[in-house]
Amino acid sequence: MSTLGPSFIELSNLRVGFDGIEVLHDITLTIAKGEAVGFVGESGCGKSVTWLAALGLLPGKAQVTGSVRLDGEELRGASHRLLERVRGGRIAIIFQDPSSSLNPVLRVGRQITEAVRLHRSLTVHDAKAEAVRLMDMVGIPDARRRFDLYPHEFSGGQCQRLMIAMALAGQPDYLIADEPTTALDATIQAQILDLLNELRAETGMATIFISHDLGAVAQVCDRVCVMYAGRIVEEGRTADLFDHPRHPYTRGLFDAIPRLNAPRRRLLPIPGMVPSAKDMPSGCAFSPRCPNAVAACLEAPPQLGGLTAGRRLACYQPMPSLSGLGLTETAKLPRYATP
């Protein structure tokens, strides 16, 4: 989806370093209003850091450079006022561990009402009514009565629903979901993904979906960015990328998924480990683990470049473009056989 709507987020040359060590390299990317874009990769590949950096939510010692624009307005280094208006009001975020993301000593209703009042000029009474409506909308049964309960009185899945209600409070255009289902069990995961899909259909809110779960990404996203060691290595429409993974790392991710609709076979793990940010190879970060690596791969990291329409790739030796791997369906099958 390369055509830009009226509203868009634009990251360009975004870099993040901790203690002088760069962990996120040169992220350039545009997300349009209404899109659902997935970010996949292993833990520590920078998928969460990208979006925390975009919202200025990283701890003070992080060095962030590059540019983050919302509708053309620069957010990096912007005033507190502007950032506070954007956070929750234009771009909301939900996190991996819903139970610890809600304040344990404040009533949930108050936490949601607070978010409503931050971004909408409603009276306390109306804001409370709106908070109850939001709790209802995200599927909290008996919302009015449970408004005054504390987070520990809800299950993990319900806490994530409450987080989503809180995220919706400011009527944002973008929702960043940072591994929203990782801490939940499988049936609850499916419910939360369904909820995210429904809300997107109802509100037209763009979804930025961060996950290491390819199945979940396939279920939610139109477009996918695969990240490895702080870089986007491959990007494309979900169906296209899942059917024809070109980066050896992307391919490796798919080969490591068990397939239920095919004969039994050995799972193929990707050999080796992700290099640590401290001793990153000078060439492609994936080269030490890559079956296709050649001399050029060891010299300089490949740039993310256009491949075909809507497709970008950072690789000197991509996998051949096979047709019909049928991975879109495979990735969905193992855990999310939802109707």
Partner: protein, 307 residues
């Protein structure tokens, strides 16, 4: 909640009984009041008469039950020196002690907690390091050294503050400071680490992520969570409002409970010492109960466990 409170009250009662018993036994095992009161050269018949007068010739357990019976009826005995009511003597001294400990408590709260929170919010800054250094100095220097140090500086060298007595409020400044400094240091240290811990929690990031100003994140989301460990410590401090000034009162000749305790112990004035210990134990127990109540109010998860 009622069951929880009843349990706590029972525990408080047992604590007080234990303190009373321990004080009773130790006081009687560790020296004979007749020796102190009458002097070492007193004739034997005078000593016998004194011992009979105060019931000291009875077996220990008889004395003990007689004592427990009398305190249960509200009779705390009389001083062996002047036959004044022990409770009256003690209560008479309470205001003087509170004149030192209450302002000291206020200083601890209003300097210690903000200093700690400020240091946590500006972690690794020069201010943070200064707060750590000063608080370590504050609570590692014992109060008798600190008291003498302050006397040396403000009374001897600068000559601006009196070194003892209770004539005007100015006389209270040095003892109050001596009492407060250690507590300020401990509270600053505690508040700092509690706050640092809370600031790394996910809900703090959530509050920022929903667009709340940092100031409100700190006040509304972080501080209420950091309050729990701080309240525990403040509870201890409140518990020692009566007993905490023994050393400092002696250094500054301040006529409070602490001085009375020291004089009464050296005179073996049994009823007075026992009464002081009872009052001290009671304040400790009451402040512990208050801390328990505060926990339930501050942390709904704890309250839930009590139901």
């Amino acid at each position: 909640m009622v069951r929880f409170m009843l349990g706590r009250l029972l525990r408080a009662f047992i604590t007080i009984i234990a303190v009373v018993t321990f004080a009773f036994v130790v006081l009687r095992m560790s020296g004979d009041p007749s020796q102190v009161m009458l002097g070492p050269d007193a004739p034997q018949d005078a000593v016998d008469a004194f011992r009979h007068r105060w019931g000291l010739d009875q077996p220990l357990w008889v004395q003990y039950f007689a004592y427990v019976r009398s305190i249960l009826t509200g009779d705390f005995g009389v001083s062996m020196r002047d036959h004044a009511s022990a409770l009256g003597l003690v209560l008479q001294r309470v205001p003087a002690t509170l004149q030192l400990t209450l302002p000291a408590m206020a200083l601890k709260l209003f300097l210690g907690i903000p200093a700690g929170v400020y240091a946590a919010l500006n972690r690794d800054s020069t201010t943070d390091r200064a707060v750590i250094l000063l608080s370590v100095l504050g609570f590692t220097i014992p109060s008798f050294v600190m008291g003498l140090l302050l006397v040396l500086i403000f009374s001897v060298m600068l000559g601006v503050l009196p070194s003892g007595g209770q004539d005007t409020w100015v006389h209270g400044i040095l003892p109050t400071l001596t009492l407060a400094i250690g507590g300020i240091g401990i509270l600053a240290r505690f508040s700092r680490s509690a706050m640092i811990e809370v600031l790394t929690q996910h809900y703090v990031r959530t509050a920022s992520a929903k667009g709340m100003s940092w100031r409100n994140v700190v006040w509304r989301h972080a501080l209420p969570n950091a309050a729990l460990p701080i309240v525990t410590l403040v509870g201890f401090m409140v518990g020692s409002l009566i007993a905490g000034a023994v050393v400092v009162e002696s250094i500054f000749s301040w006529p409070g409970i602490g001085r009375l305790l020291i004089v009464s112990v050296s005179n073996r004035d049994l009823a007075v010492v026992q009464c002081i210990l009872l009052v001290i134990a009671a304040t400790m127990v009451v402040s512990n109960l208050l801390v328990d109540l505060a926990y339930g109010w501050l942390d709904p998860r704890l309250a839930a466990r009590r139901h």
